[in-house]
Amino acid sequence: MAQQAVTQQDFEPRIVAFLCHWCTYTGADLAGTTRQQYPPNIRVVHLMCSGAIDVVYVLKALMDGADAVLIGGCHPGDCHYQSGNYKARRRVAILRNILTQFGVSQDRVWLKWISASEGRLFAETINEMTDAVREMGPVEFKLGWDV
């Protein structure tokens, strides 16, 4: 769909979620099996660890179609690879800082700690995020093809 056709009214956010295998992905699965309600705007990339999230993929997603990116990892202290989530937190903080300084809202990138048992939190996060992104409108990169 060409971007000029995108208006606030018919804007359906596209969210790409990078989820760590052990915690958030399991939590997402639990959200499904326990029939938690959340909108269909999310597409999942399965990663072994949030520490494996590379900003280049987050940026690529934001520039090529996603209006926001969710990165889900284990709670602090619970990373199954000892410290991947702490590393992710640094990288995401840096990314958000840079995005803001480029005139792109840092809230295009969400980092959330969601454990395997927090299906409800996963659903709530997707709900909250979809609403927030709908409010923000299409990602800044979509407003003009010259990126």
């Binding site: 480029f102 809230d107 093809w145």
Partner: protein, 379 residues
């Protein structure tokens, strides 16, 4: 550190090149790497083994064609096999500190000679001015007795230099201090105790002087003025980046040549990922993207390149501004990037190039940090 005063007899650059030659002659080092006038014109870094050629050295050369730390990394990525003294400006020294931490410079056989820096001019502009390099350099050094050096009218300092708040030597085995002294008369040499003893033993200089008493005040004055200039430039960049649209306007002439990366001392990768097959997409991809988005810019992924590069180097950016020099379109790459880097380093409480002790931010983490900044608040 011990301090010596070196008489310069009106030619600080000449006096120092003689001093450096002396270091080779007395066997303190085997070679010297320093900026020098090229026989055919202009200047470049060169590694000198032959002392008879060393009068070409201009430690305070008013141009910086390529970042010295980047070049030093060529020399000392692995052991050069002999002792080399390397003359670096503060921004080069700061980059060297980052590169030592990133193991791109193995410092064991390197003697770091750092200078109080008058700043540099754009290479092209300086060449076109027809000024004689050493004379102009000596003139600028002399100005530093009382404050910031200025470039000749019509040439001007590089933007990065006009907003540089780190122009004094802060680290190194030998530091050449000219802030607060009349460079045409004498230059202060501050050396580590060990090296000072060696230099004195070789009868090159006598370490009997006190540190320059007026230097700190002069440096402070210089920094104050530069700080204000920097604020102004950063504010301009912030204004541009109010929205992505504003920024794009400013950067619309980027041709994605990747020169900014090629000239960046912190971009140390043997092969940038943006020059790798990862970004050699099949033709069908471009066609598909155009279909999906309506329009696909070619060359693609310009903004992705800049943003990714920033994510890689902002933590270590030392603001030397050579990306500006490298940009064929004259985009204010350095102003924007050093502003962004400043924000990132501030968030991480890290000052690139300040010390060998602070670990590279991307190699460490703390268990309790950046909750708000990352958006991941733990309940």
């Amino acid at each position: 550190m011990k301090t010596a005063l070196l008489q310069t007899n009106g030619d600080p650059n000449g006096a120092l090149s003689a001093f450096l030659a002396g270091m080779i002659e007395k066997g303190i080092v085997d070679e010297v790497m320093a900026p020098a006038a090229q026989p055919g014109g202009s200047a470049s870094m060169a590694v000198f083994a032959d002392v008879t050629e060393m009068d070409a050295i201009i430690p305070w050369a008013p141009v910086m064609p390529v970042q010295g730390a980047r070049l030093l990394s060529r020399l000392s990525f692995d052991d050069p096999g002999m002792k080399v003294a390397v003359v670096l400006r503060p921004c080069e020294a700061r980059a060297a500190i980052e590169l030592i931490k990133l193991k791109q410079i193995l410092p064991d056989n390197i003697t770091f000679v750092t200078i109080d820096c008058p700043g540099t001019c754009e290479l092209k502009g300086f060449e076109e001015s027809g000024l004689e390099m050493k004379t102009e350099s000596n003139r600028m050094v002399d100005q530093m007795e009382a404050g910031a050096a200025t470039a000749a009218d019509g040439v001007g300092l590089r933007t990065a230099c006009t907003i540089c708040v780190n122009s004094s030597a802060h680290w190194g085995d030998v530091q050449l201090h000219v802030y607060g002294t009349k460079g045409s008369q004498s230059v202060a040499i501050a050396a580590s105790d060990e090296l000072a003893d060696a230099l004195a033993g070789a009868a090159l200089v006598t370490f009997d002087a006190e540190p320059l008493s007026g230097r700190d005040a002069v440096v402070e004055g210089v920094n104050k003025g530069r700080e204000a200039a920097r604020e102004k430039v950063f504010a301009e960049m912030t204004e541009d980046a109010q929205s992505l649209e504003g920024l794009k306007k400013r950067f619309s002439t980027c041709i994605r040549c990747l020169n900014c990366m090629e000239n960046c001392p912190i971009c140390y990768c043997k092969q940038c990922i943006f020059k790798s097959t990862t970004f050699d997409h099949p033709g069908s991809s471009y066609a598909k993207w155009a279909m999906r988005k309506g329009v696909q810019k070619m060359p693609s992924e310009t903004m992705l390149f800049h943003l990714t590069r920033l994510n890689h180097m902002a933590t270590s950016c030392i603001g030397c501004g050579l990306c500006d020099t490298a940009c064929p379109m004259g985009l204010p790459v350095a102003s924007l990037f050093s502003k962004v880097a400043n924000g990132v380093q501030g968030m991480l409480d890290y000052k690139a190039g300040a010390s060998l002790e602070d670990p590279i931010p991307l190699s460490v983490f703390r268990e309790d940090e950046l909750q708000e900044e990352s958006g991941a608040e733990d309940f």
